[in-house]
Symmetry: C2
């Protein structure tokens, strides 16, 4: 099938999931979870071929690799979706207009989700699960490196749905792994309702540049922690260390520390040793280097960089206004935190930092659908249109107006 035929097939069958209702959605999720566990051997064998063919290094191969435990985790993720409320059909608004028209605004699925992602076969099952529980058809386009794994996961799930009496063709996998195929996928206007790129900054930038389908920009996180003058050092250092080092490869990890000069004078050495103890490489501004000339100098570029590694940039600022301005200029509008005991500074930071999630006295690592109590997530939006921050089931819906009259015409 061509890319267009694949997308059209998903759209043609989108009604089967949009109007399935919550009970059937849950039956599908349970059937899919069971099948993944039952056919783990087949999936692992197919995945092994991808892993064997992989020449992109051990870190890449590790993200690509599936084993019994990982498959069990994926299946458990599908089962968890059963507990979440299906958002479709929720009445968001209901009122009578001046002319007696009865208006209801009702939540509906987006329609056809397009997901474009890298060599993480877990995304295949996660995205299918979220699509099912939000009533959406889904077209998946993973990377060539994971094609056999993605085909195995998709066929196991689709067969399980078919055996349970459902038509699973609202789920489609694009097997065309070419660059042209990806671009074609990004331009399926009128067929695909939204494209969600999941993966590296370059994947996302490519989608922004090439897509004509509406996209949701996700996951690039140049996140900041700012130590305001009144910060409590006993909160500050654990927050920084957690945000920077608890998991470095994720979008809500801290990449840059800002701090007020007076606070740096008192605590910079202690902060630096705490970071160094965790093997964090430091690049610092000139004002920091006046306190500690042994620190490597940061370039302008460093302050724009999402290291995704044990590396951090440090900059001294003159108070909360400069911190806010710096974050809004150099950041990616993802997650930023102020550590302070000054209520006014906290309020200003919360109001004026232009990010999806803004924190006072907490780690940036909490920006996550599970931590926020959404139960699941499709990614973390860093744009302002449609959804911001973690996208759960509700964020995968739209709405429509249903209006009942008895012959009203416009005067």
């Amino acid at each position: 099938m061509t890319v267009k035929e694949t997308c059209l097939k998903a759209k043609e069958h989108s009604g089967e999931i949009a109007f399935a209702g919550e009970d059937k959605m849950n039956m599908m999720l349970i059937a899919a979870a069971h099948a993944l566990r039952d056919h783990a051997g087949y999936i692992i064998a197919e995945n092994q071929k991808d892993v064997d063919a992989c020449t992109r290094g051990p870190q890449f191969a590790d993200r690509l690799m599936l084993n019994e435990k990982r498959i069990d985790g994926i299946a458990a993720g599908l089962e968890k979706l059963v507990q979440l409320k299906c958002p479709v059909g929720e009445v968001l608004e209901e009122r009578e207009l001046y002319n007696g028209l009865h208006l209801r605004r009702v939540r509906v699925p987006l329609g056809v989700l397009g997901i474009i992602y890298e060599a993480r076969p877990n995304v295949t099952a996660d995205a299918i699960g979220l699509a099912i529980k939000s009533g959406n058809a889904v077209v998946l386009r993973g990377s060539k490196d994971a094609l056999r794994s993605n085909k195995a996961v998709t066929s196991v799930i689709k067969n399980a749905l078919r055996e349970s009496g459902f038509d699973p063709e609202f789920i489609q996998l694009i097997e065309d792994a070419t660059h042209e195929g990806a671009t074609e996928f990004m331009r399926m206007n009128g067929i695909v309702d939204v494209l969600i790129p999941r993966g590296s900054a370059s994947l996302i930038q490519n989608a922004i540049k090439n897509a004509t389908v509406p996209i949701i920009e996700t996951g690039t996180g140049n996140c900041h922690v700012y130590f305001e003058n009144t910060a409590d050092i006993s909160k500050a250092i654990p927050i920084l260390i957690n945000a920077k080092t608890q998991r470095t490869s994720v979008c809500n990890a801290c990449e840059s520390l800002l701090l007020d000069e007076e606070f740096a004078g008192k605590h910079l050495k202690e902060i630096v040793s705490a970071l160094q103890e965790k093997n964090v490489e430091i690049v610092a501004c000139e004002r920091c280097r006046k306190f500690m000339p042994e620190l490597a100098a940061a370039t302008e570029e460093d302050f724009y960089t999402e290291f995704l590694d044990l590396k951090i940039s440090i900059k001294i600022v003159d108070g909360v206004d400069e911190a806010i301005a710096h974050i809004n200029k150099y950041g990616t509008h993802h997650s930023d935190s102020i550590v302070t005991e000054n209520e006014q500074a906290a309020d200003k930071f919360l109001e004026m930092v232009d990010s999806a999630a803004v924190y006072v006295n907490a780690s940036t690592r909490f920006t996550d659908g599970f931590e926020f109590g959404m139960g699941a997530e499709m990614g973390i939006s860093t744009q302002k249109l449609h959804a911001r921050g973690p996208m759960g089931l509700k964020e995968l819906t739209s709405y429509k107006y249903q209006i009942r009259g008895n012959g009203q015409i416009r005067g």
Copy 2:
């Protein structure tokens, strides 16, 4: 100024409106409305130069033309916005997470709105008004044909704001009227948060193809009225005539009539004469022409066409399922209406027609921010992402998460 400099200037000043608060927003709106009336003479003189230079026919010139009455209407529109509640700061959600983090989801402005539109200088003031009351900076890019008018309107409003003690630089007009300038404007990622094209289908398609900034697709309306077998003819004909003829050039006007065969057998002649009495040109499917061979034959293309004129396509369908399938295939997901006395058919139509506004026994002409009680509108979205149907003040906002802790770190 270059396009980029213009957009950057709006962004740099966006905080002045985002954090202005409702009282100041209202003062700005009132000042702007007064100034438009006070300087109507100047605006009309500048507009006259555009009208004199216009070689695109009387209809075009009429849309371009401003007079005292129209300017008064534009000013009154700004004053009406004073009565509407500013959506910024609304707490959409507030809860305590398992770890004691206090989470609030708060409505915030989108940031910088980009508006690209045709030779209707009223859009200039309308968009500025909506931007002010929704806390957004705005960059306007009208057509070359209206440049003098747009400059006059913008400078009158900006001067009025300045004289009232506000910095009006969050409002910017792009004076570069080149095609390249428009394309550059559509690619101001990181500066412009959303692009809203307002105007013809070709303008909108051009934005979809060229924009890398998130856009909201608006206003193309191939709207349907469907007479189901049980329709009450005394409601059906007035609804059709209203939807088709009350105003033909608007996106919520009806372009196509579907009807069941039995109903056509009983009423087609009466329907056709009601349309012809209003000078509506009719193109009809072969099944219609079996009843009335004198009707002109419709092409496949006709059923895809938004005539925006006294012209309609008519097609006989076999019941509500075919009507729904036809609308979802040929329509533009704007506004569609069923006329029926059958509750099941009505429910099915409301649920399964994939349009922003779906009606039972009412004219499609009601899809409008004012009719829906929003008090104003920036356009009517025909996409599913972010906003669907009329976009009022709330639809020009996003949200952010504000999270307060006391040292929480992720385990």
